[in-house]
Amino acid sequence: MSREVLVKKSDIVKYYLRKIIIAGLVTIAVTWVALPFVMTIIYALSDPDQYYDPHIVIPTRYTLEHIHKLIVLGAWNATINSVIVAVLTILFSFAIGLPAGYAFARYAFKGKDSLKLFIVALRMFPMMVIAVPLLVLYFKLGLADTLLGIALAHTAMALPFVILITSGIIAGVPVEYEEAGLVFGLNRIGAFFRITLPLALPGLAAAAIFTFIMSWNEVFIAAVLSFQNRTLPAFILNLIGGATDFIKFAGAFIMVIPALVFVFVAGKYLVRMWGITLK
């Protein structure tokens, strides 16, 4: 039985109309998100005379002077501090969290579900609560106003996420590979380091970027725990009280650039990890 395919004219119109509507909606969404980024970059580099001219929307003369001023005020040191804190946070949270992620992915044990639920619940805990009391403790331990102190607090914030992500990634590596390793004489630790870890490495690298972003963006804890050795968001937060407009623009600029790099490098993984950890 053969069916004749009839295409009505109205169907063709509908088809193209649908395409146009979809394209229109996507354009609106992308513009809404991207335009503020673009305008921030443009105005942060804009010549002040042109910026203050209401008739000029897009300036034609650009300058690095505002960025330079911000760097003179200490933005460069703050950026270095932020990188150090974020890298320490990755090291600590992976050293502590990776074994737990492995346990959740590979073992069946009593209390596993409650423990996992506990970790899931922890991720919702408002971590800013720990900042003030932690500072009291840090004064006693000599950790107040140190990058190490901020990194330790950020580790507590990142740990639940690291565990959930790493257990997801390790569960994605077939356990048979590891068992094959065991058959050929590796012990469990050897099998992990020589088989599972290399296979999980790309995912773990993306998880590291995810952790980096969490620490890099955290401001409340960092601002409470530090006075001189500030991370970039804490430094900017503290600076903008009496700052000129252009210093604020430059602050936005300096914080936006790394974000573009993160998404460019690991966009695909980031979407997936937010999907995992926030569900």
Partner: protein, 293 residues
């Protein structure tokens, strides 16, 4: 076999997962449990360890106390922002579930605000909405307005600026959760619906919506809890013009130098989060937890 001994290594390996999780538990108990207890001590006890309501009094009646305003604005902002975010995110997720050219690039653009700090987001919209910002310039040059709209320095306008910024910044989190949920819906359901001649609306109402409910609930919980911690955006755009709980905690700590009051504010945020979290879980019967982690 009764006389066959279980090797010690096997006996030990029963405990291996606990050994692996122990460092995490120890760390979290120390870094959350200890500060929580210490926070309660700071808020309710004086230096000699005697119970005191001094901090509570200061929080409520101290000079320049904005506690009730902060509580009001924190809840008001959440109540205004979250329904808009969930609606936009839901529509956006349905849109991105369709096939269209350039989808990946569009997806990565939409998640961009998630990779910046709330301080940066606040500053970005300070650039956009300033007197000489893009928003005013474009409207004036198009002849839609003759004078710039002033956002900063006027309370109600600052409130609007915060709402815009938060919608711009955090809708993506809700979007990603719903989008992930949408992608997990098997295509077989759609095919079955097609066989039975379901309309688009019926497909949405009887397949997409019920299967998406757990993701929607999860998104709602996460967004609400984060909304109580709103700080960076408010602090950069409005300072204390629009007081919020976290902002007052920061102010009490860094300007008033009263850690007891700051701790009290933080504990109120924690209490509010726990109460609302418990309420949601009770209301949704913890369904979101069954939907696979």
């Amino acid at each position: 076999m009764p006389n066959e001994e279980i090797p010690t290594s096997v006996k030990l390996s029963k405990y291996t997962p606990y050994f692996l999780i122990l460092p995490t538990l120890a760390y979290m108990i120390f870094f959350i449990g200890y500060p929580l207890v210490q926070g309660i001590m700071l808020a309710f006890f004086d230096e000699q360890g005697r119970f005191t309501l001094e901090n509570v009094n200061y929080l409520l009646y101290g000079p320049g106390s904005l506690f009730w305003d902060a509580l009001k604005y924190t809840i008001l902002l959440a109540a205004v922002i979250i329904p808009i975010q969930v609606s936009i995110a839901f529509g956006l997720a349905l849109l991105f579930n369709l096939r269209f050219p350039g989808k990946n690039a569009a997806l990565y653009t939409v998640i961009l605000p998630l990779t910046i700090s709330d301080v940066a987001a606040g500053l970005i919209w300070y650039v956009m909405l300033g007197q000489y910002g893009f928003f005013n310039k474009i409207l004036m040059n198009l002849g839609i307005i003759s004078h710039p709209i002033i956002f900063f320095g006027i309370k109600d306008m600052e409130f609007i600026a915060i709402v815009i910024t938060e919608i711009w910044r955090a809708t993506a989190i809700v979007f990603i959760i719903i989008y992930a949920g949408l992608q997990m819906i098997s295509h077989e359901y759609y095919e079955a619906a097609e066989v039975f001649g379901a309309t688009t609306w019926q497909r949405f109402r009887y397949i997409v919506f019920p299967l998406l409910l757990p993701s929607l609930q999860a998104a709602l919980i996460i967004r609400t809890l984060f909304a109580f911690q709103i700080f960076g955006v408010v602090w950069t755009l409005a300072g204390r013009d629009i007081p919020v709980l976290a902002g007052e905690a920061y102010y009490a700590q860094t300007e008033l130098l009263r850690p007891g009051v700051a701790s009290l504010y933080a504990l109120i945020i924690a209490g509010l989060s726990i109460a609302v979290g418990a309420l949601y879980i009770k209301f949704f019967k913890a369904k979101y937890l069954e939907a696979g982690m």
